[in-house]
């Protein structure tokens, strides 16, 4: 554009002017259109003016071919334009031209007159026209302005209404849209929830099915595994039994011999060890054994003497009784009542004596206990025993109880007493466990003996205390 301005400024200014003109035309565009419309009205006004002049009327009738539109042109141009127009019309032929030239001369004269008249009328008409146009223009302008204003107002109102309508519609639409969307959203949510519920139900069903399937599979697997394990165990057991049987059949003699030899060797070794230990303890033990033997001898002697005495007494008593009976028989007739009473008394006395003797024998221990308590030496022993009791006895008792498996349903009143011998260190001397007092129930006695051997070795003291109390002692077992 800048180049256009530089090379041809005239064109630019023309262009600018045209633009401005067009802008102006655009601004007053409506008036342009209106003026076209009003042109009809103007033409009628011209006709009204012409009617008043007869000459003009003729002239106009002659010029009927001239377009009416020319009147709308600028009045100054009307004649100049009207003149060239007929010229082509008279060129039809030379004859016509000549006649026409005569006619034109006449006509020219007439026209000169008419022209002056027309000029005057035209001037008049122009002046009227200008006035009318001005008035008309002012009116039009006012009307235009009013119309424009009305139009603008109407437009504004229409626009406003349209805007409001649009807004209302928009709002309505928005509301509807919102409602629709809300409904859609609700429907969607409901749908979603339904789907979700369905999905969950399906999922749960699937999971349940899977779980059941898994459970079944697991059970099946377990069952198979158990079955397989059982079969395997059976197979193994059968195999083992077969192998065992074969092995036993083939090698039992050899193994037995070997085992016996080994066992014999072990036994000999054990015996040697025991012997060595026994010899090591011999010095102390000899004394104990001597005392024990002495005690046993004394006890045996005492018991024998006691028994002999009791027997003698019993025999004497029997003899006496026989004698009394004989006497009673002899004296029955005379002193039956008296003798019977005496006999009864004698028997009661004897029974009392026997009971006393029994009690003496049975409660020897108690008496000895009493003796012991009064003996100054016993105080030391009581201390020792108290110490043992707290230090060693509970452990030994618990150890035995732990390994003692007693038979079921044994009478609660049964008691088994066993004596045992220990080596220093607490090992039970083999085959030393003796049932001193049987419970009368073989299985119970056996369980007791087995428990002692199972519990071996015991935790025992060493030295004097061992020799004194644990070399040889008793257990009492109660269910």
């Amino acid at each position: 554009m800048w180049q256009i301005l530089r090379h041809n400024p005239g064109a630019f200014y023309w262009s600018l002017g045209l633009h401005v003109l067009f802008a102006l035309l655009l601004f007053v565009g409506i008036r342009f259109e209106r003026s076209v419309t009003e042109a009809g009205g103007q033409a009628r006004a011209v006709q009204a003016t012409i009617v008043s002049d007869r000459a003009l009327e003729q002239m106009v009738a002659g010029l009927i071919d001239e377009p009416i539109e020319l009147i709308t042109e600028t009045p100054a141009e009307e004649p100049t334009e009207a003149q060239p127009d007929p010229t082509p019309g008279v060129d039809e032929s030379e004859e016509q031209t000549r006649r026409a030239a005569e006619a034109i001369r006449l006509e020219t004269e007439r026209l000169a007159e008419a022209e002056a008249e027309a000029e005057r009328l035209a001037a008049e008409q122009a002046r009227l026209e200008a006035e009318r146009q001005a008035a008309e223009e002012a009116r039009l302008e006012a009307e235009r302005l009013a119309a424009e204003q009305a139009r603008l107002e109407a437009e504004r109102l229409a626009a406003e209404q349209a805007r409001l309508e649009a807004e209302r519609l928009a709002a309505e639409q928005a509301r509807l849209e919102a409602e629709r969307q809300a409904a859609a959203e609700a429907a969607r949510l409901a749908e979603q929830r339904r789907r979700e519920a369905e999905r969950r139900a399906a999922e749960q069903a699937r999971l349940e099915a899977e779980r059941q399937a898994a459970e079944q599979a697991r059970l099946e697997a377990e069952r198979r595994a158990a079955e397989q394990a059982r079969l395997e165990a059976e197979r193994r057991a059968a195999e083992q039994a077969r192998l065992e049987a074969e092995r036993l059949a083939a090698e039992q003699a050899r193994l037995e011999a070997e085992r016996q030899a080994a066992a014999e060797a072990a036994r000999l070794a054990e015996l040697r060890r025991l012997e060595a230990e026994r010899q090591a303890a011999e010095q102390a033990r000899l004394e104990a054994e001597r005392q024990a033997a002495e005690q046993a001898r004394l006890e045996a002697e005492r018991q024998a003497a006691e028994q002999a005495r009791l027997e003698a007494e019993r025999q004497a008593e029997a003899e006496r009784q026989r004698r009394l009976e004989a006497e009673a028989e002899l004296l029955a007739a005379m002193e039956e009542e008296r003798l019977a009473a005496e006999l009864a008394r004698a028997q009661q006395e004897q029974a009392a004596r026997e009971r006393a003797a029994e009690q003496r024998a049975r409660h020897g221990a108690d008496e000895a206990q009493r003796t012991l308590e009064s003996d100054p030496r016993s105080e030391l022993e009581a201390e020792q025993i108290s110490y043992l009791t707290e230090r060693y006895v509970p452990a030994i008792r618990d150890r035995v109880r732990q390994v003692w498996v007693q038979p079921m349903a044994v009478d609660r009143n049964r008691t088994t007493v066993v004596s045992i011998q220990l080596l220093p260190g607490g090992t039970v001397v083999p085959d030393s466990v003796r049932v001193v007092r049987s419970s009368g129930n073989t299985a119970f006695d056996q369980s007791v003996v087995a428990a002692i051997y199972r519990a071996s070795p015991f935790q025992v003291p060493t030295g004097q205390l061992f020799e004194r109390y644990f070399r040889d002692f008793d257990f009492t077992f109660k269910p």
């Binding site: 057991a237 083992q240 039994a241 039992q252 037995e256 085992r259 016996q260 066992a263 005392q291 024990a292 002495e294 005690q295 004394l298 006890e299 005492r302 020897g364 221990a365 000895a368 206990q369 012991l372 030496r377 016993s378 022993e381 009581a382 025993i385 043992l388 009791t389 707290e390 006895v393 509970p394 008792r397 035995v400 109880r401 003692w404 498996v405 007693q406 038979p407 079921m408 349903a409 007493v417 085959d431 466990v433 129930n441 073989t442 299985a443 056996q446 369980s447 003996v449 087995a450 428990a451 199972r454 109390y469 644990f470 040889d472 002692f473 008793d474 009492t476 077992f477 109660k478 269910p479």
Partner: protein, 436 residues
């Protein structure tokens, strides 16, 4: 003597009664008292019995003995596979082997041909003391080898426990097979381990309530073979039988009195089930109960002085006791809303019955003096409990795998074991008395 006990060992240990051996000596002998070992089955090894050259006995004697001992609940036989050696004669025995295995007892034996049968010798060892507790031999026919094994088991059991064994006793029970029209019911007698079953009666109609006579030679039962209940007494050896009750209505639950001369039963001939006693010698029938409620399932006390029975006179089935001559009845089952089918232990101190606990029918033991109850079985449809003649076990029927099977419960807690190998439904077992 140094005392101790589980309850207060330390306190009692401080008490020091001393046994003095010498009169003048202060020498004290230690005595440690032990109480309350674990009660459990005792370990025993029953070695497979040796056989003489070329002999193949029909039965595994040692296995039968082991099973018999195990069933008592008091012994735990060593499995054969755990045996290091299998001695069958005294010379081969080294007791130290068995000590190492923790066995209290060892049983060895041999089966040898004698005549047309066998001689079965056996020895029982005390493993820790090295003693031979029993050494003996029995002569057996070929067919009676199982029974011989049971008798050996009983000898061993009695030697060790002091109680008579029941391996050689028998059981009677009813089996059912087939359905509806084709149903076959049989009354059978078998060894106490369930083997060696023999059918003594077969019928298309129900057979119920078998009851042993005191001598074990006869069985009383209820049969509906003539389309109505009737009580018969059948002799086992000959199969001969006798109709003893066929009154209108119920003829049920026969029970021999301990003296064998009377038969208690339930009859409804007077309109309502009541307890009657039939004198088998005079054929005199005595009615013992008179109550509008049902009175049934009579059982005698071992001394024959009283009869216990089931009655719903209190609204629910419970056990009542009355004198054997009739008279007022006293309720003796105090727990539960269902107690039935009661029978006395041989010592008369306890009663076994069926009780309902939590909707399940289980076998229980009650002490009628103290009113206590102890459950023995763990099934849901357990029925017909019956004491072994030594009172150490109870046999009953239980549902297993959808059918009735026999089971044995050890009274002293040795557990429950199923017996039956019959394919049929098995019910109403009853244990025989000792067979002499």
């Amino acid at each position: 003597m140094i005392r101790s006990s589980r309850r207060s060992p330390i306190l009692l240990s401080i008490l020091l009664p001393l046994l003095l051996l010498g009169a003048g000596s202060a020498q004290a002998r230690l005595n440690i008292e032990v109480t309350g070992g674990v009660e459990a089955a005792q370990p025993i090894a029953v070695i497979p019995f040796g056989v003489s050259e070329g002999l193949i006995p029909g039965e595994d004697v040692a296995a039968i003995i082991s099973a018999d001992l195990a069933r008592t609940g008091r012994f735990k036989p060593l499995p054969t596979r755990d045996m290091l050696t299998m001695p069958s004669s005294h010379d081969e025995v080294d007791l130290r082997d068995w000590r190492l295995l923790g066995m209290n007892n060892l049983v060895i034996g041999r089966v040898e041909t004698e005549g047309t049968g066998y001689r079965v010798s056996f020895t029982l060892y005390d493993v820790f003391r090295g003693d031979q507790l029993v050494g003996s031999s029995l002569v057996s026919t070929r067919l009676a080898l199982r029974n011989t094994a049971h008798r050996i088991a009983d000898i061993l059991y009695e030697k060790l426990t002091g109680q008579r064994g029941v391996a050689a006793t028998r059981i009677a029970y009813v089996t059912a097979s087939g359905q509806d029209e084709s149903q076959i019911l049989t009354l059978r007698v078998a060894d106490a381990d369930g083997y060696n079953a023999q059918t003594i009666l077969s019928s298309g109609e129900p057979i119920m309530s078998p009851a042993w006579s005191v001598d074990g030679r006869r069985i009383a039962y209820v049969s509906l073979e003539n389309k109505r209940a009737a009580i018969y007494i059948q002799e086992l050896a000959s199969g001969r039988r006798e109709l003893v009750a066929s009154y209108p209505g119920i003829n049920g639950s026969p029970a021999f009195s301990p003296d064998g001369q009377r038969l208690a039963m339930t009859l409804s001939k007077d309109g309502n089930p009541e307890i009657y006693v039939l004198n088998l010698l005079s054929r005199e029938l005595t009615r013992l109960t008179d109550h509008f409620a049902i009175d049934t399932e009579p059982a005698w006390s071992p001394d024959g002085r009283s009869i216990i029975f089931t009655s719903d006179r209190g609204g629910s089935p419970q056990i009542y006791r009355m004198a054997a001559s009739g008279g007022p009845a006293v309720r003796i089952s105090m727990q539960g809303d269902y107690n039935a089918r009661a029978s006395y232990a041989p010592d008369g101190r306890s009663i076994t019955l069926v009780t309902r606990v939590g909707g399940r029918f289980r076998i229980a033991l009650i002490d009628p003096e103290r009113g206590t109850m102890r459950l023995l079985s763990n099934g849901s449809l357990d029925e017909s409990p019956s004491f072994a003649p030594n009172g150490s076990m109870v046999i009953y029927a239980t549902a297993h795998g959808g059918r009735g099977v026999l089971a044995v419960s050890s009274i002293d807690g040795g557990g429950n074991q199923r017996l039956s190998q019959d394919a049929e439904e098995v019910r109403e077992p009853t244990w025989s008395p000792f067979m002499n």
